[in-house]
Amino acid sequence: MMASSNPAVIQTCGLSKRYRKVTALSEATLTVPQGRISALIGPNGAGKTTLLRLLAGLARPTGGEVAVLGGAPRQDPAFLAEIGFVAQEIPLYRRLSAEDHIGVGAHLNPRWDAASVRQRLKGLNIPLDQTVGTLSGGQRAQVALSLTLAKRPRLLLLDEPVAALDPLARRQFLAHLAEAVAGGGLTVVLSSHLLADLERVCDHLILLAASRVQLCGDIDTVLAEHQVLVGPRKDTTAIEKAHTLVQATHTARQSTLLIRVGGPVVDPAWEAADVGLEELVLGYMGQHAGPAFSHLTSVGEDQ
């Protein structure tokens, strides 16, 4: 029912990417319907960048299938015209100005909205005639994002786009993104560590950890599928039989369980509560974190 009105923009099946010894992405199966703003979340090294690069066609899968806008990502002008991608390093020609980049885009793309870039950058007080190398990291990010939007892509892939932006610019950018999606036809996948920002604009979630997809779906649906149980410390075998235990934390007397609900919770000893996005994400990431868990505190600081 959803599928017919909202065709999948991204569909992967068992998608894998191995570099010589390292598996960057393993058996990723996921779907992103049209019109979603999908948050790509995961600890460092989980495979977020690899997934985005596979979707953009910058890297080739070593296993599995990937369909983007109905076909495999390929070196074809018609396909590339539909995809916008901003890499984490925000690559731009440092010795060229923003205006030069607008010229580059105009020469290399069939659709090109130069006016929108100028308008947006002027609104942000970013000089158009100065070489990009002299701009701040945040300004460069804005230039790159504006240039990518000027392609009028149907799918926008952003690798940590807001990392270089200050909180205000971040909010403006995300609002702009939401606006562009509301205009219709645009689907976005953006990776970030800043959960609070993502929660504000995203309605879809892809959670990666240990190079595997842990969760994928509309945020509301995913949240409804999970619950937090709080109760006296005791054996959790019964719970694990009926539900999927994501994470369990124990104190001396009390246990807190994050579960993927498999049916009603019948044991009255457990007090069930709805789960928030952050709690959910941290629960899944904590499963695979180990010592790397420490970086999660930075997520909290940004609240």
Binding site: Q75, Y93, L108
Partner: protein, 332 residues
């Protein structure tokens, strides 16, 4: 795409054009002087019937200028280092290849336009420098007949264009495979120098079978017409055994430019070496020894230029093919 290539490299192009223009001015001014010096010397020697000796008495150009012209042998390598090496490697280093590849343009087209202009510029600059050097050298060539000699052969005619194309292609390929500029530059310099030396020293003399002319030691060795290239020379003994100093490595003595290994010569003649070349020669002839020279005639100059240019153009084409495969097949 051409627009982007020009926008990225126009400053470099201006700089290279300025350097070429400065070199051209220098060469044109001194070249005119040299040509008139040569022609007036010809006129005066014709009056006194001493033109046969002109090559020994007339020195054209200044040593500094001759050195500068000889140094143009490094121009192809410089083009490879400054234009070829960074062309793709810089884009990988700064990530701008990802920016370009996410515009609505295929990687093969991106590469074709970049490489096409780089090779065109290499051919233009290599060709322009070579044309200037060839023109500048024409009185020297007419006087000294040296343009087939290693060193002169390498900076005149069309071979510098082949070298320039190869050097730039090598830089591009090394930069693409290594993905970093500095190592690519080192590889470009190393491989280019090595191949040029190997081909120039070991391969070039075998493009066409050299002509061998025997001579009697009673006379000076023969001097073929025009700008021939003396590849080797030596001695044939009475029993037909060939002795040349290359094969023996012992002490040798030059007989009019032909190396004679004295250890292998009859002892009766050896004592005469330092007394008189004439007596030494007569002694060798009396013992049944004959000399020979092996050379490439002047008429083959352009054939050799064509063959050597062809070799380097083919190598360049192979490198570009490797680059194209790497860019389109490998991950960004």
């Amino acid at each position: 795409m051409t627009w982007l290539v020009w926008r990225q490299h126009r400053n470099q192009t201006y700089l290279a054009a300025a350097a070429l223009a400065a070199f051209a001015v220098l060469v044109l001014i001194t070249g005119r002087q040299m040509a008139s010096q040569y022609h007036s010397a010809l006129t005066s020697c014709a009056a006194s019937h001493t033109c046969g000796n002109l090559a020994n008495t007339l020195i054209l150009g200044t040593p500094v200028l001759s050195l500068l012209v000889t140094l143009t042998v490094v121009v192809p390598c410089l083009l490879g280092v400054f234009w070829g090496g960074p062309l793709v490697a810089r884009e990988f280093e700064t990530g701008t290849s990802q920016f370009a590849w996410m515009q609505s343009i295929t990687r093969s087209r991106w590469l074709a336009v970049k490489v096409g202009w780089a090779l065109l510029a290499a051919a233009a600059w290599g060709g322009a420098v070579s044309a200037l050097v060839t023109w500048w050298s024409s009185p020297v060539n007419a006087l000294n007949h040296q343009n087939f000699q290693p060193g002169q052969f390498d900076i005149q005619g069309i071979v510098p264009v082949g070298y320039a194309l190869f050097a730039v292609a090598l830089g591009i390929a090394a930069g693409t495979l290594l993905r970093r500029t500095l190592p690519a530059l080192a590889v470009t310099i190393g491989v280019f120098t090595f191949l040029r030396l190997v081909i120039g020293q070991d391969l070039r003399s075998h493009y066409l079978t050299a002509v061998t002319t025997p001579f009697s030691f009673l006379h000076a060795p023969p001097s073929p017409k025009g700008s021939y290239w003396l590849v080797s020379g030596g001695v044939v003994g009475p029993a037909g055994q060939v002795a040349n100093s290359h094969a023996h490595g012992g002490p040798g003595v030059s007989f009019g430019g032909v190396p004679v290994p004295i250890d292998n010569m009859p002892s009766a003649c050896r004592v005469l070496v330092f007394q008189s070349p004439l007596k030494f020669g007569s002694c060798l002839a009396a013992h049944g020894y004959r000399g020979f020279i092996t050379y490439q005639p002047a008429s083959r100059y352009w054939a050799f230029q064509g063959i050597e240019t062809g070799i380097f153009v083919l190598l360049a084409a192979a490198l570009i093919a490797v680059t194209a495969i790497a860019v389109t097949r490998r991950d960004a």
